[in-house]
Every structure is written in structure tokens, then in C-alpha cells.
Symmetry: D3
Subunit: 73 residues, 6 copies
């Protein structure tokens, strides 16, 4: 499936924490940047996520906020 999300980043699972309902996935991109994702425990298990597995981190453009380095004085 090709997805409409404008932001698709290829990386590797660096860390995986499974909770009772959700799971936290830390994805490391080439260069060392990390993206953290919360998905359902069910998804993490059905995808067979594990440290070292190659994955994509996917973000819809409408879910990206913009920040400025400094607050106005």
C-alpha cells in the first residue's frame, strides 16, 4: 500500500515497550534521529515488531505542529 501521508521515514526499531493496551516504539533513522510512536499492543504484536526490525514511521501532515526557537519578548 502507498499511503497519502506526506511524511514517511525509513528506520529501524531501537526500543520497544509493551503496555497493557498500547506500545511505545522508538524508531532510529539513518543519521541517528529518533522518532517515537505509540501504537496499539495488538498492532505491535501482529506486525512482529522487535528491536532491529526495519520499519517506516508515518505521520500525516495535519498532525505536524510548527514551533519557533524563541518566545516573543
Amino acid at each position: 500500500m502507498k499511503i497519502s501521508a506526506r511524511n514517511v521515514f525509513k528506520g529501524t526499531v531501537k526500543q520497544l515497550t509493551i503496555g497493557s493496551v498500547n506500545a511505545e516504539v522508538v524508531v532510529e533513522l539513518p543519521g541517528g534521529t529518533e522518532i517515537v510512536s505509540i501504537i496499539t499492543k495488538h498492532s505491535a504484536e501482529s506486525m512482529g515488531l522487535a528491536v532491529g526490525k526495519g520499519v517506516y514511521a508515518v505521520v500525516k501532515a495535519s498532525d505536524v505542529l510548527i514551533g519557533e526557537p524563541h518566545e516573543p519578548h
Copy 2:
């Protein structure tokens, strides 16, 4: 303000498209990765966004999906 979002990426505005209600902001990270954001036109204008401006792209962890490289056969 320090924000709870786990994903905060420093970059530069590469492209800015202003619509009637929303605006599309393309942020280029060091290394050339691009992140696309949709924010309100009002926010883009009140922040004085312009090509070349230094900004942060901010994503809440619960808004990051995980994809696998290949569909199961």
C-alpha cells in the same frame, strides 16, 4: 515553552503555501530530510513564517504510525 511531544525536529522552512484557511509548510532538516506540516493560515502569518526561517517540526507520539516495508504474501 518546553512541550511534551516526543518528536521535536529542528529545521528550516523550505516552502510555504498559503490557502484560504490552512497553510502547508515544508520543513527541511539537516541532511535534507523534509517534513510537511499543515497549520492554519492564521498561525503561519502570526508566526511570520517565511522561506529560510528556522523552525521546529513537532509531532505527538500518538500521531506516528508504523509501517512495514513489505505486505505479507
Copy 3:
């Protein structure tokens, strides 16, 4: 790509409205149920969306609210 989203619905583009920054896509599922999506104009164009095209509507579980039929008295 296989996606972590728990909700993936196969359907057909029934209606497409292109704005200046965003596009509205109405997807019709088998049986007649409709799902409405807002994506960027850029995504709609780069995917070559058009009425009649087969697509998936994808929703992350954390973006689904639950409602009750009647308000409490």
C-alpha cells in the same frame, strides 16, 4: 507497506474536491458506507486520485471516538 493502523477499509473514490491546500476525498465502501478524508492537495495529486479509483481509507485507533446513542437524562 503494511501499516500499523488497526482500521483499513477498502473502497472506491466517490467524490473528490480539490482546494488550495487540502482535498476532500469521499470513499465508498462495499455496501454503500461512506468515509470522508481530508488530505493535502499534493497527496491527492501525486496519488492520481480520481472518481472510481480503488483506495484504502486508513484510521489510527487512537483517532476513533466512541459515542452513545442517547444523552443521559
Copy 4:
């Protein structure tokens, strides 16, 4: 309350998993389609969710992504 969300689907709770903070709700629509939702444990309890209860699954149009059946070659 009538809600602005474009996507409101009537169904029945098929499965309910309560975690420490969140809960996973599987809603079955007529015809057998399932929609999975993550809401807070507090909401699930205050709504009295239980298997068999009639509910609505509600999705904002800006939270729906579009996927294509095949990746480009």
C-alpha cells in the same frame, strides 16, 4: 449532541480491553466490519461500555489517510 465529524458509524461493542490509562474498544458494524478505538479507561467506564452495547464510532475527516492498493514500480 450532533457532532461535526463526517464519519459516524453505528455499531455494537464486540470486545473491550481495559488498561491502566487507556481502553481498547472493538466496534462491530452491521455486515461485520470492525472499527478499533482507543479511548481513556475513564471514558470507557463512565460510559458504561460493555460487550453488546450499542455505540457510535466517530472519526474526524482530517484523521483519515488514503492508501493505494499497490506501490508504484
Copy 5:
């Protein structure tokens, strides 16, 4: 419909801007606090939104970020 969203605020439409696909709705709460919403143009029109109309602003808990007043030194 009673909704699972933990955040439901009663107010009045103070300002309404209709775009080609989306609409921006500024809701004023008692006390003067304003909440800004982006919904589809279609929803704004089908709900008959207009300045002065009584409405609710609804936010899912997983869509609320937390910020701290000062950045760390």
C-alpha cells in the same frame, strides 16, 4: 449522542471563516477564553454554523499536549 471525548466545552461561535474545503471556527467560552477549530466546510454548512450560535468544542484527550512555562537552561 454522548461522546467519549473527555474535553467538551460549551460556548458560542464568535467567528467563522469558510475556505474551499475547510472552515475555521472560533468558539468563545464563558469568561472569554477562545478555542479555534478546523472542520470541513461541508460540516460547517450542514450544521448551519453562524456567529452567535451555541456549540460545543470537543477534544479527544490523546490530542492534548502538555507544555511547560520555561525551557530548561
Copy 6:
């Protein structure tokens, strides 16, 4: 950092519940209004969130739905 989010509300942490992966934060605004947020446990801990701490609740405009007081007859 100044954030593009249109909705930034200053308040105080009233209640904090830590789960295995996520945390629920109840923020009380001046006047008594409460906003509930779900963030990662990791964010809650790294920000040192605790009851009584001054924080901001931040919501992107595209994550705000609009409801009407009464369902149509």
C-alpha cells in the same frame, strides 16, 4: 519555543495517573475548567509533572470537533 497551535491554555496539574506506557494528566484552568491529556509516561516523567505544577494544555485547531447542543428531530 512558541508553538503554531492555536489553542494554548495555562493551568495547573490537578491529577496525574501513570500507566505502563501512557499517563493521564488533568489540567485545571483558572475558573475551574478541566482539560484532560494523554501523553507518554516518558514525557510526564521527563517534564517532572506533579500535582500543583504550572503547565500549558496545547491543542492543534485541526483536532477540535464542533458539536451542536441537540440532535435533529
